[in-house]
């Protein structure tokens, strides 16, 4: 029996920084020191702390090593495994007081988290179904198909209060009930693993770290709605997730957990993968279904909803990966247990991909109702380089910004909408004083213009016009009318677009207009960008105390915007200056200021 286990992360992040070689080296080293009987190396899914990867966690003392290199393997074995001394230089360092933290239980990053969807990520080997079974895997499915009727099982999901994690937050139990009511010779369970929000990677991590939980949940859903076939729509850009899911499906079939007469019941279920080419709009359920059918990935008008007419015109239940990951737990722990977590209308937890100007970038799972302050300052370890917090963007290209005023608002589906943003799939990008909000809005709009499928006019042309206006503003050529125009366009696009992509695409603009109107006005009226991000608006002036009157700037200015007498301080005429920056480069005395 092993006394110790070394859990090595083999999520996408850590594999990119050689975690596979670390596994090799650890094994070699254990062998060399005759420790293979005492310690075992286990590869797991993502720990969520990708920024400081590769991660190696030693069990049972929960030592959390970060940024481990293959060369460090020998030292971990000889020092920690053999002699029991932690290798302190590899321990996580607290960003505030620079102290080494002895184990993961003492890390702020994990203390406030509650892991339900990610319960097995970083704990089990995702390529070994046995480890999932030990963690109560497939017991929920066994219980459902042998003890419960579909109606009873649907009731439990309804009672739990689980809402869809794919963006809109539709009650999951209700969706299952609606789909179950349509009768048909064939129905489908679809898992939406398209994950198109820039920056979000929770679905990928769940599939890579705990693929069996999705298989189990889809089978449960199949039993509830009366479907025997499951399809996972996954983007082909997720090769590792695809591989692990395929391994898991293969193992589940071998055990008879997929196939005919599961657990000796009358219920049969099997599943297949469908690959997407990575278009954002294919995450929208009707476009997704069209794409699965081999058609162009374009959305269509709803109703009919997929529950009535989906894949191959059959009743189809579409849920997101994270939604499914929550399902087995509801049956294992009971709907009461589940609904005790979270806020009145949003139960359970949510996984967020924390990114931007924050110390601990990574994947976190927190109970609904936590505040932004807790996420940013306790889990995230505060803003990078001691700068000031400015805003948080949630919901990706469909969401908006929250500001200082929202720091203490409990976060759930409804409070985010009330604050002009949305949950979306859970991207959370933290911004500091150096970020220009107009440029941020422009960034998301560029994404939308790229990704719009072009089927409806408001989305195809409206967003393009909005982007042009934003470009004008960031180049210092905007006017106050442009701001009104922007707002009008935004409302028209919201009201008239065909699908959720267009209906939500103006959100980043509207929310920054609402929360950072001053910044827009500064760009338009004073031609100034507080964050100094909009280069075209940089203002060049000459410091008369430093200028020697050497004339080099005046001679090099391509538009003759600089005048002055020899050996006298020179002057830049702002109305002529084109902000090219030549004077700044030429001046030998650092006399040119930029603001």
């Amino acid at each position: 029996m092993y006394k110790m286990q070394l859990l090595v992360c083999s999520g996408t992040g850590c594999r990119a920084s050689a975690s596979a070689t670390i596994v090799e080296k650890l094994n070699e080293s254990l062998k060399a020191h005759q420790l293979t009987e005492e310690a075992q190396v286990v590869t797991t899914g993502c720990f969520g702390f990708c920024e400081k990867g590769p991660i190696v966690k030693v069990i049972p003392d929960n030592t959390f090593y970060t940024q481990v290199k293959p060369e460090d393997a020998e030292e971990i074995v000889t020092e920690h495994i053999l002699k029991g001394r932690k290798v302190s230089r590899l321990l996580y360092e607290d960003p505030e007081n620079k102290e080494h933290i002895i184990d993961s239980k003492h890390m702020g990053f994990y203390q406030k988290q509650m892991r339900i969807a990610l319960r097995n990520c970083g704990v089990i080997d995702p390529e070994n179904i046995d480890e999932y079974i030990v963690r109560d895997g497939y017991s929920a499915l066994a219980q459902v198909v042998t003890d419960l009727t579909p109606e009873q099982a649907i009731d439990m999901v309804k009672q739990s209060g689980l809402r869809g994690r794919g963006g809109a937050g539709f009650p999951t139990g209700l969706k299952w009930e609606i789909t179950s009511k349509f009768s048909s010779d064939q129905k489908y369970v679809v898992c939406n693993a398209d994950e198109g929000d820039p920056g979000a990677f929770m679905d990928r991590s769940i599939l890579e770290g705990d693929p069996n939980s999705i298989i189990e949940a889809m089978a449960i859903c199949g039993y509830c709605i009366g479907a025997t076939k499951g399809l996972v729509y996954i983007r082909a850009e997720y090769p590792l997730a695809i591989k692990r899911l395929e391994i898991a499906i293969g193992q589940a079939r071998e055990y008879g957990l997929l196939g005919n007469n599961i657990f000796g019941s009358k219920f049969s279920f099997d599943m297949e993968l469908r690959y997407g080419a990575g278009a954002f709009v294919c995450g929208e359920e009707t476009a997704l279904i069209a794409s699965m059918e081999g058609k162009r990935g374009e959305p269509r008008v709803k109703p009919p909803f997929p529950a009535e007419s989906g894949y191959m015109h059959k009743p189809t239940n579409v849920n997101n990966v994270e939604t499914f990951a929550n399902v087995p737990v509801i049956f294992l722990k009971g709907p009461e247990w589940y609904s005790a977590i979270g806020t009145e209308k949003s139960k359970g937890t949510k996984v967020f991909a924390l990114a931007g100007k924050i110390n601990n970038v990574g994947l976190i799972e927190v109970p609904m109702g936590i505040t932004l302050r807790e996420i940013i300052y306790e889990i995230g370890g505060g803003i990078k380089n001691g700068k000031n917090f400015k805003a948080v963007q949630t919901g990706g290209p469909s969401g908006g910004c929250l500001t200082e005023a929202h720091l203490d608002t409990p976060i759930d589906f409804d409070s985010l909408v009330a604050a002009g943003s949305m949950m979306g799939s859970g991207g959370m990008i933290v911004m500091d004083e150096d970020d220009c909000m107009v440029s941020i809005a422009k960034f998301y709009l560029e994404f939308i213009v790229e990704e719009s499928c072009g089927k409806c006019t408001p989305c195809r042309i409206g967003n393009k016009r909005m982007l042009e206006i934003l470009e004008k503003i960031t180049q210092g050529k905007g006017s106050m009318e442009d701001l009104d125009h922007l707002r009008n366009l935004a409302y028209v696009i919201k009201d008239t677009s065909l699908c959720g992509l267009g209906q939500s695409s103006p959100n980043p603009v509207l929310s920054t207009l609402e929360n950072f109107y001053d910044e827009y006005v500064a760009h338009v009226k004073d031609k100034r960008c507080f964050a100094k991000q909009c280069k075209a608006m940089a203002k060049y002036t000459i410091n008369p105390d430093v200028c020697t009157g050497c004339t080099i700037c005046a001679r090099n200015c391509p538009v003759d915007a600089i005048t002055g007498e020899k050996r006298e301080p020179h002057f830049i005429h702002q109305e002529i200056c084109t902000h090219c920056g030549v004077c700044y480069q030429k001046c030998k005395f650092n006399a040119i200021n930029v603001e």
Partner: protein, 129 residues
Amino acid sequence: MTKIKSLDDLRQKKQQLEQGMDIREKSDHPENLVQIKVAMATCGIASGARTVMNTLVEKMKKEKIAAVVTQTGCMGYCYAEPTVEVTKPGMDPVVFSYVDVKKAEEIVDKYILNNELLDGILPKNYQTI
């Protein structure tokens, strides 16, 4: 692979596989378990800490006591090695000195199971964070 055809099959399968995962489950909430730390620095290893640790692991398993057995570095009692620190849930840690295989078994039988103290307890002279 044998098929899993019923809930009982699944339960059995789970039990068979449980041992390998045991230590990961336990490390999740160490505060509810008996925690045993064996000092395993050069001095400890030289005086036989490795066999002591193996004995403890086996013994705890035999007695079916939920415990986390870990190794630590030198606790600073080099003169009294091998040393073993035992923390029962809700109690202060106790450090035993000159532990050999026999004494290790005694620690389990007397202190852990019956709360009896043994000879050779060292005063705990440090604070852990």
